[in-house]
């Protein structure tokens, strides 16, 4: 979309908004307990059981029905592991439990993206500088032109194709994100640092390939092709699903983009407003929210990145009410509707900007 309009709220109103959002946050954060731990433990159990079941069906099943079931179960395990478990645990949503296996800074997940590199590109860069052009590298993933403010280049003619490739190989897109290839090419990153980042990324890719495309197929002996294809498809399903959910979080119609100079000296209230206007939600039931890692509540997630995500459904109506009170846009809609607006943006920005007669 376009740059955010200067807010009509006064400094006092923004300070009051900050207090009200803080109060909503405190009401949940002071009330964390066993139920939150039970939720994430349950998710971990389901994900593990689903992985074991899925791999068993792929290895020992006969015929296409068990193959499809195996693929679905394995994809489900990976989606849960990446979205509801990995993403949320690595945000520190369960650090308060003191459980070492839920420690944000040590968690590692089943995806071609190294946990430590993710913590940097996502937690540090994206969540701090959300939708600031030139700072938030999630804006089009340095690949797509999502707004008029990004300079058009001839490669953007291939943008619809690039989008499709990114969707299919989303885990590699996310995994290579922290390499900051662009910065390296422009000489802004020393070669040693780039090399170290590249090694880390390739090691992680090596690990997931070894597991899904070598070890498990080899263990299946004569069923190797069946397992290989199943693992590949499960990864592809996970890639497409995570891509759709994540693209709907910040690239829908009506999401605001910021200039760096407009965000200097911002208060926590300003930051809350930027997070709110830079994110968009998806509507759905409990199952849908869980499968999206509660990124369907992208707005609440960006306001409270370290709140256990299953609590977002509880605070969403309160945030929505605040938005009505302050006249702020609460961007929400069905997955279908929101994704259509994302595609519209991708396609519109494929074309070079029209020259406006002076």
């Amino acid at each position: 979309m376009s740059f955010a309009q200067p807010t009509t709220l006064s400094r006092e109103q923004i300070a009051e908004f900050e207090r009200e959002v803080d109060a909503i946050r405190a009401s949940v954060m002071n009330n964390l307990g066993q139920a939150d731990v039970d939720h994430i433990r349950n998710m971990i159990r389901i994900s593990r059981a689903s992985e074991i079941g899925g791999r068993a069906l792929l290895h020992f099943g006969l015929g296409p029905v068990s193959w499809v079931a195996g693929v679905v179960a394995l994809a489900n395990a990976k989606i849960l592991d990446n979205m509801e478990i990995g993403h949320n645990v690595m945000h520190g949503q369960y650090d308060w439990t003191g459980d070492p296996s839920l420690n944000s800074q040590k968690f590692e997940w089943d995806i071609a993206c190294d946990g430590e590199q993710w913590r940097h590109s996502h937690n540090v860069m994206h969540h701090t500088y959300t939708n600031i052009l030139g700072k938030d590298r999630d804006l089009g993933y340095s690949l797509l032109r999502m707004t008029d403010e990004q300079k058009w280049k001839p490669r953007h003619w291939f943008q619809p194709l690039a989008n499709l490739m990114l969707a299919m190989g989303f885990q590699y897109g996310v995994g290579s994100h922290d390499l900051e290839i662009g910065r390296y090419k422009h000489g802004a990153m020393p070669k040693e640092e780039f090399k170290a980042r590249l090694d880390r990324f390739l090691t992680k890719v090596g690990k997931v390939w070894f597991k899904d495309y070598l070890l498990f197929p080899a263990l299946a002996l004569w069923s190797a092709p069946r397992v290989l294809a199943g693992n590949f498809l499960a990864n592809l399903i996970r890639n497409l699903w995570t891509y759709v959910i994540i693209f709907c979080g910040h690239f829908t119609e009506g999401v605001a983009i910021y200039r760096e100079e407009d965000t200097r000296n911002e208060t926590r209230g300003d930051w809350y407003i930027r997070q709110l206007s830079g994110s968009s939600n998806l509507e759905g039931g409990r199952f849908f929210h869980i499968m999206s890692g509660h990124l369907s509540h992208q707005i609440e997630h960006h306001l409270f990145p370290d709140m256990p995500a299953h609590r977002y459904t509880e605070v969403a109506p309160q945030i929505q009410a605040l938005c009505r009170k302050y006249g702020l846009f609460y961007n929400t809609g069905s997955l279908f509707k929101q994704y259509l607006t994302v595609m519209k943006r991708i396609l519109t920005h494929t074309l070079p900007p029209k020259r406006i007669a002076a």
Binding site: G33, R48, G98, S101, T128, K207, V208, W271
Partner: protein
């Protein structure tokens, strides 16, 4: 002794098998296939005592020692490596979703198959209240290996004094049991201080040991009837104090007084003591008071003041802790605060819990602080 071989056999077996298995599971390439936490969860689902990394201990018996003190007799799993008399374990329990850890001295005989901790219920003690109210026979606790410098030496002196007060009796009780088991030939006085006979922990056990163990002379001082305990009372009860190597555990003020006496009299015999800070409540100093920050990993220490975030202060002191957003979002600067009181600059919350995760960029020191950076 016949049973000592059966006692050590499973321990050795476990450590031989266990260490390489854990090392293999922690290898990054193995961990990406099957996580150690998944193996651990599966094992404890099969049986709560099973673990590759944690000592688990089943509660065999709960003994009411006094109205506010209970002894938990525990059967540890094969990972338990034994203890020296006087050492403690860290007990980890999950209370409303949070893992909390407290230190408890072992009161059992070091070579015993079963170990025992004795817990006094504290008025505001989260863990002691949980242990008293929730933990029943058959439950499984997670404990650490035995730890602590407060222990009896291999070579025992000729004359000894074991001095304890209140719940400080637990490590000293283990020492006494050890002396008896080692058939100590010297002369030991066990002196214990508590309020009244109702508050005497291990009353029966002490009487039994005193009857069996002729080297022991047992003295109990009840504050309620005999007046407040002081070093002078001690000298009166133990006239040859200057000749006795002493091991002591009790409340801080009492131990301070005894230490002072030792110094003022320039006593040549050694005095060993151990302190337990139940739930250490370092009072928050007013913002602006100089405080000392100890960085345990880098070995650096700096003094600072003011309500600035610890991250900024550490950087000014020449350290470069890992960090990211600097506004409390990303948790890159998260580290373990081992002790001390800090204030969260976003919520204003002041907290003193030991071994707590804090974010350096939004925490300010309100007392001396030890950090794991």
């Amino acid at each position: 002794m016949s049973h000592s071989s059966t006692l050590t056999a499973p321990t050795r077996w476990a450590s031989v098998i266990n260490a390489p298995v854990v090392a293999a599971l922690q290898h990054p390439w193995v961990e990406s296939i099957v996580r150690l936490s998944a193996v651990e969860d599966t094992m404890s689902a099969l049986h709560p005592m099973l673990s590759l990394t944690e000592v688990r201990a089943r509660v065999i018996r709960v003994v009411d020692e006094t109205a506010s003190t209970k002894t938990f007799v525990l059967q540890p799993n094969a990972l338990w490596q034994g203890a020296q008399a006087g050492q403690f374990v860290r007990v980890r329990v999950q209370i409303d979703g949070r893992w909390v850890e407290r230190v408890y001295s072992l009161s059992s005989k070091p070579a015993a198959r079963r170990i025992a901790i004795t817990v006094k219920r504290q008025d505001r003690g989260l863990v002691s209240q949980h242990l008293h109210a929730q933990v029943k026979v058959g439950d499984v606790l997670t404990i650490s290996q035995a730890d602590g410098e407060f222990a009896l030496p291999v070579q025992l002196p000729e004359k000894m004094l074991l001095l304890s007060a209140g719940s400080g009796i637990t490590p000293v009780m283990a020492m006494l049991r050890d002396l008896q088991a080692r058939k100590y030939q010297g002369d030991v006085i066990f002196m214990h201080v508590c309020r009244s006979p109702d508050d005497l922990i291990f009353a029966k056990r002490l009487a039994t040991i005193a009857a069996e163990f002729s080297q022991l002379s047992l003295r109990v001082h009840f504050d309620e009837t005999a007046g407040r305990f002081s070093p002078q009372v001690l000298v009166a009860a133990v006239p040859d104090l200057a000749e006795r190597s002493t091991w002591m555990c009790g409340p801080g003020p009492l131990m301070d007084a005894v230490h002072q006496y030792w110094e003022s009299e320039s006593l040549a015999v050694p005095l060993f003591s151990v302190r337990f800070v139940g739930a250490p409540l370092l009072p928050a100093t007013a913002p602006g008071t100089p405080v000392e920050i100890v960085c345990a990993t880098s070995g650096k220490t700096f003094t600072t003041q003011g309500a600035e975030p610890l991250l900024v202060q550490a950087e000014r002191a020449g350290l470069s802790p890992k960090h990211g957003c600097r506004i409390g979002i990303c948790r890159s600067c998260q580290c373990v605060k081992k002790s001390g009181t800090v204030q969260n600059l976003q919520t204003g919350e002041v907290s003193s819990a030991p071994n707590e995760l804090i974010r350096l960029c939004i925490s300010s020191a309100r007392s001396d602080v030890a950090l794991d950076i």
